[in-house]
Symmetry: C2
Subunit: 175 residues, 2 copies
């Protein structure tokens, strides 16, 4: 039993596929690490209509993930939807952005739920994740066998019939 | 806006709650890190009927996660179910187990899908994750507002009405 790597793509179709899956699953667990290498995760949703190899998240500047990202900017976004058996893992570099123009750019009024003071709240910050690599597992079927099948695809490198495990590489489009 | 921590529990009810959510969501993304601190994730399902502060996963001894776990045994299990708005993040220490007795203990015939040679395949190994801490976000409602509410609970430490963000500590019950 060999341990083959998934096929790697870096074309527009592959990026569109990843963005489509992210938009459908919507909520990621954002995984950060502290100075000791301990991992932390919390649910987060990206706030943007388009995808240009960056994902943008609103946060409170006082939240623990801010210091974790300052310590280590490598983050992972874990998207899972067991009902559709779609799984996406995204690697990227996170950056804290306090630029008021950017904060206004992605603002929408439903964000007032978290930031009752509105877009000018000085505690609002953005986390920009520059996507470096994405892996996804998807299934045309909703049967349980396929769910297992996709795990197999990763564990053994053998792709189950009808399923996909693909790796998508991203070139940074911004400095 | 303060950054309060979620309430911490270490009683049996809290552990049972975590195990119930894991069993329902079923598939985790297991996050490991390599020597450079880069994070990797892949879908995995635990293979056991009961939960005693350890989670057991079957794997191929030649898969990349084996060397990642040997480099750094801190792993994170990310469970998400957007349809029920349930999210669980589990921190633990992973250990590679090649004991044939243990491999037989959790074996069931559906595992033949990945290991066609059966339980005596010498490439089968187990990953035992000793759970150290779990955080969960759940919702009694399936409305979108609640999904956001749970994110808020983590970002700001303010618990939305009707929802929970709880932290559960585990004491290792085994050496």
């Amino acid at each position: 039993m060999t341990d083959k790597q998934p096929q790697i793509h870096n074309d527009k179709d592959a990026r569109d596929k990843v963005w489509g899956m992210i938009k459908d699953i919507r909520i990621a667990l954002m995984v950060t690490q502290d100075q000791t290498g301990r991992l932390y995760a919390r649910p987060m949703a990206a706030h943007q209509e388009r995808f240009e190899e960056e994902l943008w998240f609103y946060t409170d500047i006082n939240s623990p993930k801010i210091s974790e990202i300052k310590d280590n900017h490598h983050v992972l976004l874990s998207y899972s939807d067991p009902s559709s058996q779609n799984y996406v893992s995204i690697n990227g570099k996170a950056q804290i952005v306090r630029d008021r123009g950017k904060i206004r750019e992605f603002w929408s009024e439903h964000l007032r739920t978290w930031f009752p003071k509105g877009v000018d709240d000085p505690n609002i910050a953005l986390i920009c994740v520059k996507v470096e690599e994405a892996e996804y597992w998807d299934s045309p079927s909703s049967t349980f066998l396929y769910a297992y099948g996709y795990i197999k695809a990763r564990v053994t490198g053998e792709r189950p019939e009808g399923g996909e495990n693909e790796k998508v590489e991203f070139k940074a489009s911004h400095g």
